[in-house]
Amino acid sequence: MARLSAESEELARTIIPRYPRSRSALIPLLHVAQEQDGWVSPEAIAHIAELLDLTPVEVLGTCSFYGMFKLHPVGRYVVGVCTNISCLLLGGEELLAHCEARLGIKAGATTDDGMFTLEDVECIAACTDAPCLQVNYRYFLNLTHEQADALFDDLRAGRRGDEVPEHGTLTRVRQRIASERWSGHGAEGLPVPPGQVR
């Protein structure tokens, strides 16, 4: 867990000049970091801050705003159980409690074998099929407790590979853009508006 690797840093350096202000590359670079390690480590935050001429806390402030950037290592499968209003009315809280009991961890924690991280999430926009959960951001809808148990068993046994990719990085954002499709500003970046400090 560390700073960006040489390869990641090279990718970062091609991303930064796409924006008029280097700061705009912050979220893409956080994706690069998460794609590298599976989470965004403090060292990676410090490295990104150096690359963008920001302070580490500015990077942390943005990073921590987004739930999909992980500030701690997570398991192979990140399970997010919705407890927002529709799911709540149709047993979301009970589903979460069942998952906690089944996996032996509280929401927010990771199982000792590193297989599952359980999260209590806000609405994931599947209200018509409540209660629901996500595994590595793939949806499982209208879930009974038995179906949830079966899902966990399958995942542990590696039987759902077609539906749920193993969490390598969580992030799959296309960062490599062919140079002919760049906006034409090259390594210098776009001009900074007058009166602004880059």
């Binding site: 403090p42 935050i45 410090a46 920001l54 302070t55 580490p56 806390v57 500015e58 942390l60 402030g61 921590s64 705003f65 987004y66 739930g67 007058p194 009166g195 602004q196 400090v197």
Partner: protein, 966 residues
Amino acid sequence: MADSEQATKETLTVTLDGKEIEAEPGELVIAAAERNGVYIPRFCYHPRMRSVGMCRMCIVEIDSGRGPALQPSCMVPVSEGMTVTTESALTKKAQDGVLEFLLINHPLDCPVCDKGGECPLQDQTLAFGPGESRFVEEKRHFEKPIAISELVYLDRERCVLCDRCTRFAKEVAGDPLISFIDRGNHTQVNTFPDDPFSSYFSGNTVQLCPVGALLARPYRFRARPWDLDQVESTCTSCAFGCRVALQSSANRLVRKLGVDVDPVNWGWLCDKGRFDFEATNSDDRLGGPLVRSRAPGAAGDGAGELAPGTWSEAWDRVVEGIARARLRPGRESIAVLGGARLTNEDAYAWSKLARSVLGTDSVDAQLGDGLPAEVVVGLPRASIDAACGADTVLLLAPDVKEELPVLYLRLRQAVVERGLQVVEVSPVATAMTPYTAVSLRYRPGEAASVVRAVLSGDQATGTDGPADERRRAGELLRAGSLVCVLGRPSLAESAQPVAAAAASVLDALPEVTFLSALRRANVHGALDMGLAPGVLPGRVSLEEGRRWFADAWGSLPSGPGLDAHGILTGAAEGRVACLVLLGADPLADFPDRSLARRALAGAGFVLAVDGFLTASARRADVVLPAAVYGEKGGTTTNLEGRVSRLHQKITPPGTARTDWMIAAELAWRLGGDLGFTSEDEVWDEIERLAPSHHGLTRARLASAEGFDGLLAGGVPEAGDRDAPPTMSQADSPGVLGAMRHTKDDSLATTGMGHDRHPDPQSGSEPAGAPPGLAAAEGAASAGGSGYADGGTPQEVRGDGDAVQASVATETDQGGSDAFRPSGGGADHGSAQRPSPLRWSGGGATAPTPPPLDRYSLRLVSARKLYDDGTLVQRSPSLAPLAPGPRIRLNPGDLSPLGVGTGTKLQVTSGQGRVVLVAVADAGVPQGSALVTFNQPGPGAADLIDSDGAVTEVRIETLGGAGGATS
């Protein structure tokens, strides 16, 4: 001015609570309402920062033509015909709701919170809140206060997430080391782990905080607001002259708060200025005179021990020492060093004492660390506003962030917000470098040649750096209005090259004006009062003012005396029979410690007048205890020549006295009479005699006009019309009106900047001040002083002509007695008021530095904000922040030694040898070495040769087989 404003600005008519008011275009509703006496509650809004609409407290009903709607008044600019209702039932309900929400997670631990009693959240809850909360759930919990820096504690439970501190850190200070972290109900302000909020301006966030979430370590649990008593004053930690409210409890200073004055500090302070009042409270203060016992058989001179004595013993020894010195011939037999710590009144008294009673012109308030006095006094001056409002600033100064931190804030703001172009010419990179248009490096000793090359467009001159940068700099200097910020960039080179550079600028661009960047507290006031060789009070030369002051004072020395370097050299050679140290510590502050040491040993009789027993005072024969900051009134002068008032807040310890009293008594004991018996009389004499201060009467200084301070010497005050649209909304320029500051509510800094507090006693009058401050505000409007203690009515003097006339009637009293004082009635009938000194660079030639030697590095030395100085080291909160001595080298100079950052290196110059920790720093050009000045332990002063044009050093690694030479 009112007429021209009418001509240039249209005003808009807005209906506010049923009354028609005039508002300026672009003005925010909240500001327009406040200007018209309607206080809209708020937490996040601050007139010196961008509005963000975070807290929603200021929502009122606004109708811009499409029907009334609740809108945050800090985000909506006024428009023609707008109707604003601040007291409708709907507004009230909304405010109730917002406060109930803000209090959901607030712990209500007011009884143990330092903010209790001056807390905007408390006050506004009482005035505008619902009275009861319906929230019964568990509040959120955080670890109680965490230290986010050495000086600031953060209690996240109390935080209402108004974004004031984080906005300040990013927008104003440029140190975004705190930020919102997490989201929604979990949002908190915090630092990055292990990356503390170590900003020089962190204390401002404590003052800005509308709740008790941010607390300053020096004040925490020290006092309750209702126990505090305060006076208006001016900070003298550096020469910038920030206006402050100085607060005490039980005769101890406990807090300094920034007061918003438009021409100077905008309410901000640096942490050194904010917290160095601790030194005044220090146990190290001198409370009585110290007299060196006479060793048997020796004639004094440091033989015995310094021991407490009485004032009369001390005076006897002083009179004896001076009497002996008077027998010695030579212009340097008596010399006075120092004076920047003094008030203007103190400095004038000592200047008059030295000239008319001691008969010496060898006086110098600078300790070889500034610029020649005639340069500082004689160059055409610019105000701070003029510098920040210019098209281009030429920065020929040390790192302003280290030496004049709030000037850094003002210049940085001008660069970021209005596109000021800064051309920097400096020996090493500074904190301003990232904000400059062009930053040129010069090798120590070669400042003048770089500036000349820039001005002449001559690309061939032998300086490093890309030619196109120099061309760009030359274009910028000629592009429009230009102000040169002029100081001493490095103590390790002579001041002459800088003076010569200034002369070249003045020669090539005669319209240029100068803003001095000398840092020492009241050094500009001391120079204005004549504490410099060849300069008399009121910025006149000894020759020009001879007739005028000889008439007034009785006698003057026959010719100019010596400056600090000359005095110390003379003392080292045994030619100074009496050396007076006026709050001066040459062992710490003179660039060349070896010379200072030899001078103190070689001087005949040494008298120190100081608040502390400094290293130099320890070597004196007599030490007289002086009152220091907070213990005396008077006036001080900042770097632009602005005279503003100080006030006494607490009583000095023991029998310590103010410096002017010591001067007056010494004169009397020597058979003279300085002719004044109070501070006020001293100022009246200054106003009457000093040409640059003519017209700055006490009445004016005490008036509302004088609250901001008054510029001496006829320097024009930048009018509001020309002022830049500071901190404008991104898309609505000219919210200047929103931050125009009303003098009589500045006291509200106790709570929230200069916002007014609501009066919880009378909900119907939310614009009223809190009860404790009402009296002060009353005094402000009546007496114009603005502060509770300042209400003593000053006699209002007539205009200048009347004063002249009264003087002219007393023509017969002037005499030729050598010790004849001016008294109140000197004869000015025969002398013309002298004209001020003008320096145009005559005779300013830069000494030629020695040829480059490839085995040596040229030494650069400059200060850090926290150093080994008297005030910092006597302030327990600040002392640990001094970073310690370091040598900073270009990586290209360091790596050939095979070492890196953190290695100890032996540094040798012609003066001495010290061991310093190395730091690789790309901001130092190759061939130069930067050693911080006056840090605890051995350092730059042991290396610098004050006789040479530059100081060269050699670097060696320690240990091993003799170490490699560079």
